[in-house]
Assembly symmetry: C2
Homo-oligomer: 148 residues x 2
DNA sequence: TCTATAAAAGATAAATTTATCTTTTATAAA
DNA sequence: TTTATAAAAGATAAATTTATCTTTTATAGA
């Protein structure tokens, strides 16, 4: 559906947002660890998010990643856009170059319902809202550790 | 959403179904051409569909691919299952290994709506139904050719 | 039985995505 | 200003997906 890079990016952004508080910065090691993502790969992804002003970073000692107040309001689709682009929400389910109501693939109508629902899911949800859920303990951004 | 291989497979199956009539067989060249898919790759994909009994093939002269009456009734999700598997319809939107109502990711509910809609789209549609639409001329499985 | 035909099977290559490692740059504090 | 720290940037590697090419197998008809 969306790429692994994008999934890592969303989880990381939610984690950073969940720790939002004045002056707090998180480094890649912490972030990658908390969201169960490969560290170096996550670093690359956070670079992209920073360039798109979805999160903010600061180099040097006491540096790290954080999210600013105004950034918390952004919809998650902004992260998808930064990493994967918005083509998932536009493209034909059967891979036709052009597929629309006027030249539809045979699955167009049904597929569009799912595609729109997906877009809706990412569009209507803010980073703040998701972080809040994690802080409440009602949802999670890391994998369960199985006990023996 | 679904792989290119799977998209080619669905388009090819629909095309074969749209030409269904006693004794008619289509070869890979025709099929690949009609659905705008790479020929050799399409051949590989049709092998898989044949193994899963979604279409039927016959080697040798006057051989080729065709679909049998009983195969026409199958839902398109059978093709997805044969090529990509059903994991798209089960996996977490944020890539968590376990994500369910009891241990949800923060997007679980919204994402599940989209994921279920997608599954529904493929589950409720038969190959016959899609082929019919193509034969009616109300939908298409190939790319528009742009005129200059 | 021989020949031609078309798919199956197998091997390999190209492209993309995922992932890691090294070097450079920015920055805060001593 | 020097040093330590952490991200940015750049290079490279591994894995997966997409795609192609070659050889083998099945089959119909002459």
């Amino acid at each position: 559906m969306i790429s692994k890079a994008c999934q890592y990016g969303i989880r990381a952004a939610i984690f950073i947002a969940s720790r939002h508080s004045d002056g707090i910065k998180l480094n890649i090691k912490q972030i990658a660890c908390e969201v169960d993502a490969p560290e170096a790969f996550t670093a690359k992804i956070l670079q992209v998010l920073n360039k798109h002003h979805i999160i903010t970073s600061l180099k040097g000692p006491y540096g790290g990643f954080f999210i600013e107040e105004f950034q918390l309001e952004q919809p998650v689709i902004n992260i998808v856009n930064a990493i994967d682009g918005l083509s998932v929400f536009k493209e034909c389910g059967l891979g036709l170059k052009q597929c629309s109501a006027s030249h539809p693939c045979p699955m167009h109508d049904q597929y569009k319902i799912a595609r729109d629902a997906l877009q809706n899911a990412f569009q209507k949800t803010s980073i703040r809202h998701l972080a809040l859920q994690v802080n409440e303990g009602s949802s999670f951004i890391n994998n369960l550790v199985l006990k023996n």
